[in-house]
Amino acid sequence: MDPATKRKRLDFVAVLARWFLGGIFIYMGLVKALDPVTFLKLVREYEIVANPVLLNLIASVLPWFEVFCGVMLLTGVAVRGSALLLFGMLIPFTLIVFKRALAIASAEGILFCAVKFNCGCGGGDVYICQKLIENTGLMLLALLPLIGLGKKWALRFSFWRKETVTAEPAPAPA
């Protein structure tokens, strides 16, 4: 396979990754945004924020922010910046969920991978090992647009200059 075809295929995979990631964040964000009280209670269970204003802020604003970033990825606007934000959010989310699962495993005397709880991620009750694998997968997917792949079918890949690729360039005349 020549490098151009390889690059084209990788770019196509990156577009699918961008759409998938955008779709996932829109879905997960909407689940929380449409029931902020449940999300508020779940965030409180982590016991990392004591201030009520900060707690309310996380529960009410973060889900909509996730939806916004998801829409940016899906439509292909400011893709690298949006992917960086999602990647940056996934790291602390994963660490916090991991820490909580450790605490539950220790308190209930069960195996780490047997811990099942609603982490407030938007998908309901989930086994922790499955969640960690999912989040790692999402982080890897976020890396593809972050390094500049997946420009095809993007409305405006970068804010700063137009990097839209909508059609294959016409072959040069022989």
């Binding site: 945004a33 409180r44 973060l62 939806v67 916004f68 970033c69 949006s82 972050l146």
Partner: protein, 199 residues
């Protein structure tokens, strides 16, 4: 890389503005300055579930962490039998005793203690107009939610107390709707006094 960082900052700024606006416009949005948990920064520790354990019988014992926390807050507690006695008291039909369901619309509509008023502590403005005069007139107010580790009844009772409903009138039924249905007591579906009663 600098461009990507700047782009991320720009997306973050625009996203934050939109997220704030969405929360403000959403009918389910949260009020940022409200302390929904009345200073309780941590939830009641989760009870370790045992296969044979049921929550069919709530107690008034301070050994129960939920009861201990309620008593610490100065709230009175009723168990399943006492809740049933209050429900069958003639005063209940006259409004001298009232039950308040502290759960959300979906759960309330899905089955509540017959005649119970709904009071969702997370949207008090939607209910206070109806609840407040009824609470003022009542001699005893029994607040409940799902039961178990559910804290919504506690927060609803504290919101009512903050609204100047005397503490001596307020009782929290810790067993909640779960214990009520487990005991085979009647449940009303849909709106209050809908007539859709089921045992």
């Amino acid at each position: 890389m600098k461009r990507v960082l700047l782009e991320a900052l720009l997306v973050a700024a625009v996203g934050a503005v939109i997220a704030f606006a969405a929360n403000a416009l959403s009918p389910r949005g949260l009020k940022l300055t409200q302390d929904y948990f009345h200073g309780e920064t941590a939830p009641v520790p989760r009870a370790k579930a045992k296969p044979t354990q049921t929550i069919a019988n709530s107690t008034n014992s301070s050994a129960d962490p939920v009861v201990a926390r309620l008593k610490e807050k100065g709230l009175q507690v009723v168990n399943g039998e006492q809740a049933s006695e209050l429900f069958h008291d003639p005063l209940y039909q006259q409004g001298g005793i009232i039950f308040i369901d502290a759960r959300n619309d979906e759960h309330y509509q899905g089955g509540h203690i017959p005649g119970a008023y709904q009071f969702d502590n997370y949207h008090p403005e939607n209910y206070m107009g109806i609840i407040f005069p009824v609470c003022q007139a009542a001699q005893r107010i029994v607040v409940y939610c799902t039961g178990g580790n559910c804290e919504d009844s506690q927060f609803a009772a504290l919101t009512l107390r903050d609204a100047q409903i005397p503490n001596e009138k307020l009782f929290v039924y810790t067993g909640g709707i779960t214990e009520w249905t487990n005991r085979g007591y009647t449940v009303e579906f849909g709106e209050r006094n809908s007539g859709k009663i089921q045992k």
